[in-house]
């Protein structure tokens, strides 16, 4: 299979490290000069940009966390004036401040290039008809994959999410050959096809690129066998750029990192100390070319390991093992990031319930469901069914308006959840 950018995807180790050093220093120089947050952070640690003399010196730099980005809402972390920003994406959520990401025109060019590489490595070519079933909007998934597929020269159908009947009609009639979606959405479509009697063999699909949430091996196997396609995993972080950071090639032996644009470290999530290659730890990303929102050592909270041996596909870039775990208890349900802390904060504001709860994620017929079990307060053991139903509805609506997903709400009797251990607060029954 062809390699989209032979120069950068097949670079020797010493060449890529020289390029990373140059770009790391340039990025550090720029954020030190242009972003007050980083200037303060560096100064507080008595760090000057020239203290980064080798790639390994990146470990001397401070981490950037999601909270830092929220504190900088909306534009404080940008390294260029707003008039040089040509695109703005943002995370969802209204209870906590969202994370706003700005892109310059060069950032968009680089983004498209990197997604084109990921798509090409998955086997997509200019002859493919690419159906993109990711949300187009503030979420980075739709637009991110879209421009990469266009750069590749493929025929791109921006279907977006929802209206699955139309999605399937388009897949059949437009003869889509590549599907871009969340793995859970693909599974949902598979279930629907069997219900509607659509034979997967009647489709033209041959490859799928899945991202936005973890894809377990069982899910991958189901998608591959049901649709008769090659299912590849790809990785993006919305706060950093979106999709295109890394992706699997057709050999599916790790996600190739676009190392000329990102410096990826794996550290111990507790101590923050760098871990040797092959050991599982938290993914830390430093951007090397981003102009709008450069990021120094962003803590993704994703857990995985890294290998640097060249892949049999011919690419020399370092690879990440599939990302299936997190350092926090966030879960992704239907593409929405659900943080238990947010649910807890919300329950404090609702009368007649305790802020004691359990979140359960299930997959039924290919669709993901979130169940929220909430403990009633002592005073609210009401026999009035009407009142209880009303309370459930209130919680459902509040959760929906805060985080964008409607859970199934189950009220439970007082004192039934108060002994719940922290690790049981979130139960994920899906295959991830």
């Amino acid at each position: 299979m062809p390699i989209w950018n032979r120069k950068f995807e097949r670079m020797g180790r010493s060449e890529i490290e020289q390029l990373q050093l140059e770009r790391l220093q340039t990025t550090v120089n720029r954020v030190y000069r242009n972003v007050p947050f980083y200037h303060r952070r560096f100064s507080g640690l008595n760090l000057a940009p020239e203290d980064v003399q080798a790639l390994a010196d990146v470990t001397r730099l401070p981490f950037t966390t999601k909270d830092d980005l929220r504190d900088g809402y909306p534009y404080e972390m940008f390294a260029v004036p707003l008039r040089e920003i040509v695109r703005i994406h943002s995370s969802s959520g209204t209870s906590v401040k969202p994370i706003v990401v700005g892109y310059t025109s060069n950032d968009l060019k680089h983004w498209a290039e990197q997604v084109a590489r990921v798509m090409s490595s998955a086997g997509v070519t200019k002859d493919d008809v690419v159906q993109i079933a990711f949300d187009y909007g503030l979420f980075t998934g739709g637009f991110g994959m879209h421009y990469g597929a266009e750069k590749l020269g493929a025929s791109v159908i921006p279907v977006s999410t929802g209206n699955t009947d139309r999605q399937m009609l388009i897949m059949q009639d437009f003869r889509s050959t590549a599907l871009v979606s969340a793995p859970s959405y693909a599974v949902y479509m598979i279930e629907l096809m069997s219900k509607l009697g659509i034979a997967p063999a009647s489709l033209c699909l041959r490859v799928g690129l899945f991202g936005g949430e973890p894809m377990g091996e069982k899910t991958r196997a189901k998608i591959e066998s049901s649709l008769g396609i090659v299912a590849t995993d790809n990785y993006g972080v919305s706060a950093v750029m979106g999709p295109g950071i890394a992706g699997e090639c057709e050999l599916r032996s790790g996600l190739h990192i676009n190392e000329d644009h990102f410096l990826v470290e794996i550290v111990d999530p507790e101590s923050g100390v760098p871990l040797p290659d092959g050991e599982e730890g938290e993914v830390i990303i430093t951007t090397l070319t981003k102009e709008g929102l450069p990021m120094i050592r962003y803590r993704t909270r994703d857990l995985t390991s890294i290998v640097r041996e060249p892949c049999k596909c011919g690419r020399t870039t370092a690879r990440l093992a599939p990302i299936r775990k997190r350092t926090d208890d966030m879960i992704i349900v239907r593409g929405v990031n659900v943080y238990p802390g947010e649910i807890e904060a919300l329950l404090y504001e609702i009368e007649h319930v305790e802020p004691r709860y359990q979140l359960v994620a299930d997959r039924e017929n290919g669709l993901d469901y979130l169940t929220l079990r909430v403990e009633l307060s002592q005073v609210m053991i009401s026999d009035q069914m009407q009142k209880l139903l009303q309370l459930e509805e209130t919680i459902r609506q509040r959760v929906h308006s805060r985080i964008g997903i409607t859970p199934r709400v189950r009220l439970v009797e007082p004192k039934t959840l108060h002994n719940l251990e922290l690790k049981d607060r979130v139960v994920d029954n899906r295959d991830v």
């Binding site: 050093l21 140059e22 720029r30 020239e50 060069n106």
Partner: protein, 245 residues
Amino acid sequence: MLKLQSVVTYYGRVLALRGLSLHVEPGEIVALVGPNGAGKTTALNTISGVVGARSGKVTFDGKDVTNKSPETLVRMGLAQVPEGRQLFADMTVYENLILGAYRRSRASKAAHLREDLERIYAMFPILKERTHQAAGTLSGGEQQMLAIARSLMARPKMLLLDEPSMGLAPLVAKSIFKAITDLRKDGTTVLIVEQNAKAALAIAKRAYVMETGRVVMEGPSSELSGNPEIQRAYLGKGYKHLAEK
């Protein structure tokens, strides 16, 4: 071909390079641009061994050449065309060119001197016309051409050019840049330092933008010349827009 890793250089007591890293691949034209005092010339002088590096590493043609003497570097195939040309004013164009071949062995000189002169004259026809004229009587542009031509007589693998358009009329500068682009066709690798960012970005494949001894931007020239910050700072665009804000 050339690699710098975190090179720190003092110019007297002034910290002129604060950890400069860059690379130039074989056959590439790479530009180092930035305002006066950014450290561009110091960078060239450190590479060519004229100024010593306090720390960091310079690799040329796969060998560590940090703080090697200029003579050693010239022998290895690195030629610098200094700012202000530094020709032998009383000597003829021809004599200046022959001196450029000085570092080559006698045998190699005899075999290729004529051939090289012809190549140079083809590249800069004006020098052929002026071959018996004293270098000091040439115009600024012609002197710059002679300075480049003299460096090429050493058959360098790589050429370091310091402000080749300095003090030249725009049209003359243009012909110099044209000549530099032609060099690439011969496979000569070029690192060029220029205050004229627009011209440098037009001929270079990639560029590094320096400020106060640091690189603040780098990338393909096509991306840099479209960058609003570069346009404002170095290409003289956008001032009106800024003033209106």
